[in-house]
């Protein structure tokens, strides 16, 4: 469903991402892991369109989206979350989510002036979508609370809900479990599982190995910008290249 071919990104003379090729299948949970600085976030930025690749292709459902601008890619069905999400603190959770469905609507300035049927319908639709997404992540009860008044973990789930309101085909989650405790991480894993059940494709960057090993159908390992391994959790766990990247090889330890 998402095919990456020879993806490369150079910053000055340095290759942040080098010649990565991988295929992510639909309706699977795919994880991207690797030591710090391996190029994982850059990879996401390239797929989502925040950065333009230096070489390579990104193909989503048969369409080459490599050179498309970020907002066009979002409209093609790529949703994403960020490591830090800027939500409007002094507005309610629901208020924050309504804009998520905007990209599927067509109302403009004229509609606002004449309060057209289309605007009213689209606003209702967006509001319903927002409620739906909120229920999916299990936060309907905080619908009217200010963002400033909910917990860190709840905020993360609101960020997911926001991405869900865009009606995505594939969801890119950037370190979703960062900074939350084991119990919350478990809840998150369940949420991702539910997303998969609903037909979504999920791609996540994560450092928490237990969680990743538990939910991923496929794992890709990056180190220094290159793909060093790919496969099921069992395969990746045994792969010597992966072990070396994370822990350093036996030879190094001996010397």
């Amino acid at each position: 469903m998402l095919r990456i071919e020879n993806l490369t990104k150079m910053f000055g003379g340095l290759a942040a991402v080098k010649d990565i090729s991988v295929e992510f299948e639909a309706n699977q949970v795919n994880a991207i892991i690797g030591p710090n600085g391996a190029g994982k976030s850059t990879f996401f930025n390239l797929v989502a369109g925040s950065h333009k690749p230096s070489f390579g292709h990104i193909i989503l459902d048969g369409e080459d989206i490599t050179t498309l601008r970020c907002d066009y890619i979002a409209r093609r069905g790529v949703g994403r979350t960020f490591q830090t999400t800027n939500l409007f603190e002094q507005a309610s959770v629901l208020d924050n989510l309504i804009v998520g469905h905007r990209l599927r609507t067509r109302s403009g300035l004229w509609d606002v002036l004449v309060n057209s049927r289309r605007l009213q319908q689209e606003e209702k639709l967006s509001r319903d979508k927002a409620r739906e997404a909120l229920e999916f992540v299990g936060l309907s009860h905080v619908e009217n609370r200010f963002i400033a008044d909910i917990t860190q973990e709840e905020r993360k789930r609101v960020a997911f809900a926001l991405a869900l309101t865009t009606d995505p085909k594939i969801l890119l989650l950037d370190e979703p479990a960062a900074g939350i405790n084991p119990e919350e991480t478990q809840g998150l894993a369940e949420l991702i599982g539910r997303m998969k059940d609903h037909g979504l494709t999920v791609c996540l960057i994560e450092h928490k190995m237990d969680m990743v090993m538990g939910i991923a159908d496929k794992i890709m390992v990056l180190d220094h910008g290159e793909k060093i391994a790919e496969g099921t959790p069992e395969q990746v766990r045994e792969d010597p290249a992966v072990i070396e990247a994370y822990l350093g090889s036996d030879d190094d330890a001996a010397a």
Binding site: A48, Y72, G108
Partner: protein
């Protein structure tokens, strides 16, 4: 009890009460000067509503706003005084002018991020001032433009009379507030707010940054132009000093005090400061000795201004009460009152 009273302020019907107050004001005012001050405050409020669109909702600090105000004033002034246009067509021309210039400035400047945009617009505002001051063939230079036509009452109303122009400006203010209210609650308004929250996030939600930013900018400059044209018709004389960056700073103060990004903030802030300045008559020249630190204080402790802080407080209290009530009535399953967060 205070909570109920406060909540009352946010009900949609309350605005009719304030409109009624405004309608009655000229009858209870002590002299014509007070009516004049109120009318000027209305005009400035219209401009600040414009500023609120690009700076409050969309989050881009536009320091050329005063320049566009003056552009509207000069367009109307020159057309009526030098070329014999009648008021209303000249007003429309002023709106078109500020919209078009706003479009071109916006397209160039809105590609710039954050600080660069503010600095760039500061310079644009200054260039506008310089042109108005030096381009004597067109703008009369430092002498300014006199004998600007007042609004044309078509023989029914004489708009050289302070009270009648007060009502005219009030009508425009109410229209402005109605439009902005519509805008802020709509999907378009929410799009602007999403951009303020972060370019990256907005783009990931499929929002076309440039198109929306330019739209917000053009809307804001058009309102500035409207205010400027009304001002010119009211004061009947304008000069390059009307484009001085200090006016932009004044409007930023009004906006911040009232409440950036809120619906009644621009009005509250403008009214508050204009009347405060009036009552501190002796200090008018040096009012910034008070307002400068006030601005700093607010930005640090109450960045949402009077209205914003009030709304936050109100929401928290009603939300808190509603959740407490819901807990003690679990079997009933209430989910809390919805507070109108757009006052």
């Amino acid at each position: 009890m205070w909570l109920k009273l406060a909540a009352l302020l946010t009900r949609p019907a309350t605005k009719y009460f304030f409109i009624a107050l405004a309608l009655v004001f000229p009858l209870v005012a002590q002299n014509e000067y007070q009516i004049y001050v109120m009318a000027s405050a209305f005009v400035w409020a219209i401009a600040v509503y414009g500023l609120n669109i690009i700076t409050g909702y969309c989050g881009q600090l536009n320091l050329a706003h005063g320049g566009f105000f003056a552009l509207g004033a000069y367009t109307l002034g020159l057309l009526t005084a030098d070329y014999g246009w009648s008021y209303w067509p000249a007003l429309v021309a002023a709106l078109v002018m500020t919209a078009v210039v706003g479009f071109f400035v916006g397209v160039v400047s809105l590609r710039l991020k954050e600080h660069y945009f503010a600095i760039f617009t500061l310079c644009v505002g200054f260039i506008m001032y310089l042109l108005m001051d030096k381009w004597e063939e067109l703008t009369h230079g430092p002498v300014g433009v006199r004998n600007i036509a007042p609004p044309n009452g078509f023989g029914l109303v004489d708009f050289t009379d302070t009270t009648s122009i007060y009502y005219l400006v009030l009508v425009f203010l109410v229209l402005t507030m109605w439009f902005i209210g519509r805008l802020s609650r709509s999907l378009l308004g929410r799009t602007f707010t999403a951009i303020r929250n972060g370019d990256e996030l907005a783009q990931s939600l499929g929002i076309n940054l440039m198109r929306n930013k330019v739209l917000a900018f053009v809307l804001s400059t058009t309102f500035a132009g409207l205010a400027g044209a009304l001002y010119a018709g009211m004061v009947r004389f304008i000069g390059p000093e009307d484009a001085n960056v200090l006016h932009t700073f004044d409007m930023i103060t009004y906006l911040l005090v009232g409440g950036i990004g809120t619906l009644s903030g621009p009005l509250v802030g403008t009214m508050g400061i204009v009347w405060l300045t009036q009552s501190l008559q002796f200090m008018e020249e040096y009012r910034m000795i008070l307002f400068g630190p006030l601005l700093v204080f607010l930005v640090i402790f109450f960045p949402r201004g009077i209205v914003g802080s009030f709304l936050s407080w109100l929401h928290r209290r009603t939300q808190g009460e509603a959740e407490a009530a819901a807990k003690t009535q679990q079997s009933r399953g209430t989910t809390g009152r919805r507070v109108n967060n757009n006052a």
